[in-house]
Symmetry: C2
Subunit: 327 residues, 2 copies
């Protein structure tokens, strides 16, 4: 019998199956970082993320890190829409053989992350499960005229990122090969949602589209491209690369792959109006966070990577579930 499985389809294929069935009444629907529901004077934001034991918990992450990460990735989705969190609920599926202390540490990490970002775990569910499965849902709000969406960019807009890229990837390889890149490992283990920075951007009015880079820069560029119907030209030399990337790999091609494709940095990828480059610098100071222009929005044939004056097609090589991780 020839039954097609999810392994043959991949995550994006699976999402298409779901999109074909679900009739959403959200004002901003499936496919953005959060769903946005019009509640009169503002949008309610809601986002959910599941983490599964083997797939999402690299060796070396403590239960505390796992709890922190679960909350952080959901808050990062609220940030990507320019929102302020109201609270987080978490569901924990865990085996009866897990030590009580293991559960306690997960919850400690969840609680600490929520508190650190001025919100709280407002409720949850704990169930027995064959293997560890965690699900977090963050709720938030955003003023209607400040919502940041994946769509909205216009040709000529500038493409920018917050922070530095490749840090989490460097952390991953540091853990794998005992390189002791502690700061990079910290970024991987305890992602830092850019909530405050995103609010500064959202309130400025110069941002035309935004998302968080959870699955890698290249895949996120393709996501913005799909949403705007436009193309993106990225200048590799302008991408703010974490110095830890150099420490993880000497090989320039491997560095490039890390910066472009690894993901897990949870930085913001956004576009701003073409005349706003100076204002972006001011906002960067205000937010106390680097905001760096790395390219521009075009209406070309395909997404382009410029590397030392060589123009090449930007490959979409981000992480996709149900398929094997490249590295």
């Amino acid at each position: 019998m020839d039954v097609k499985t999810l392994g043959t389809l991949g995550e994006r294929g699976a999402i298409k199956v779901i999109d074909g069935i679900v009739k959403s009444e959200a004002d901003v629907g499936i496919g953005d970082d959060c769903a946005a529901i019009d509640i009169g004077d503002r949008y309610l934001l809601v986002t959910t993320d599941m983490m599964a034991g083997k797939t999402h918990v690299p060796k070396g992450m403590s239960p505390y890190d796992v709890g922190w990460t679960l909350v952080a990735v959901n808050l990062s989705d609220i940030a990507a829409m320019g929102g302020t969190p109201w609270g987080v609920v978490t569901a924990i599926g865990i085996t009866r053989g897990h030590p009580i202390d293991f559960l306690g540490q997960i919850v400690d990490g969840m609680n600490d992350c929520a508190q650190r970002f001025d919100t709280s775990i407002v409720g949850g569910d704990t169930k027995e499960h064959e293997s560890l499965a965690l699900c977090g849902t963050a709720i938030g709000e955003v003023p209607k005229d400040e919502i940041l969406l994946r769509k909205g960019a216009k040709p000529g807009d500038l493409v920018a990122v917050s922070g530095e890229l490749g840090m989490a990837g460097a952390g991953y390889f540091s853990m794998k090969r005992s390189l002791s890149l502690n700061e990079a490992e910290g970024v991987l283990k305890r992602p830092w949602p850019r909530l405050r920075e995103a609010r500064v951007l959202a309130a400025s009015g110069i941002v035309t589209s935004c998302m968080d880079i959870s699955d890698g820069l290249s895949s996120s560029i393709y996501e913005l491209s799909r949403n705007s119907g436009l193309t993106y030209e990225i200048d590799y030399s302008r991408i703010p690369k974490a110095k830890e990337v150099d420490e993880a790999f000497r090989d320039l091609e491997r560095q490039k792959s890390l910066v472009l494709n690894f993901g897990d940095d949870f930085e913001l990828l956004f576009t701003v109006k073409r005349e706003a480059e100076e204002e972006l610098k001011t906002l960067s100071v205000k937010a106390d966070c680097p905001f760096t222009v790395i390219g521009k929005v075009t209406s070309g044939e395909e997404n382009i990577l410029i590397d030392e004056s060589k123009r090449e097609r930007l490959e979409n090589l981000g992480y996709e579930h149900f398929r094997s991780r490249q590295s």
Copy 2:
């Protein structure tokens, strides 16, 4: 090494561990059916529920049923607080070996249930996982003066339930022993959240406390008792027993156990002001749903079951995760 596991602690013990750590800023915190967040003019309600493959999916449930149930149990929590749903997000952890059609059927069930209750799946997440894990989160709203909580009952208040009890339990044993009690099996496979009925109750102002009976009547009575600090006297003869219970078991003790302890009926258990018995009848007609008084709130020593003029202690025998199911 003597490591205490969750198996020794049980679900309620696990929840205590979590309560000891989490600092919630919700206005109604962990332990009620939903968390309620004050958003100015009303409360935002949010609830999350996880379903794990083996533990929560009895043989005979189709993927469609599983999807329906995931949404229904979350909407039932919104109902228990007197709320109206704004939307549901669902996270699906599934193996790469699952057929694409299996995912499609789950999503069909989720979508149909949401639509049936005038809401929608507004977003979600799909991830690879070692085994099937589903997590639903429902968001809703309730006017501040109409919120129904687990606490609030006063001595002398009447205890009431919606619908009939034991239906889902009869369905469970019907499936197990091929009794063909189709309606009962339907209740088990496709729970029916009492959203409309709960709104009628909430708007009336006569309800002093409420929850849904997901884990069985006895366990829910203990839950109300813990929240109100009072005791409850239940008259077994007044409990509206589904006729399917008689068809599932001749033995009266087994019937009693089903009605008191099985759960999964997703009916409402609530208290009303003592003078409101007549008004409750009017509301029952209005909601087109039986609302039946089954006892009263007392300030005694323990929760009591009156069975043919015999007064006995009501045992707390509801379903608890991490421990084995009684039957």
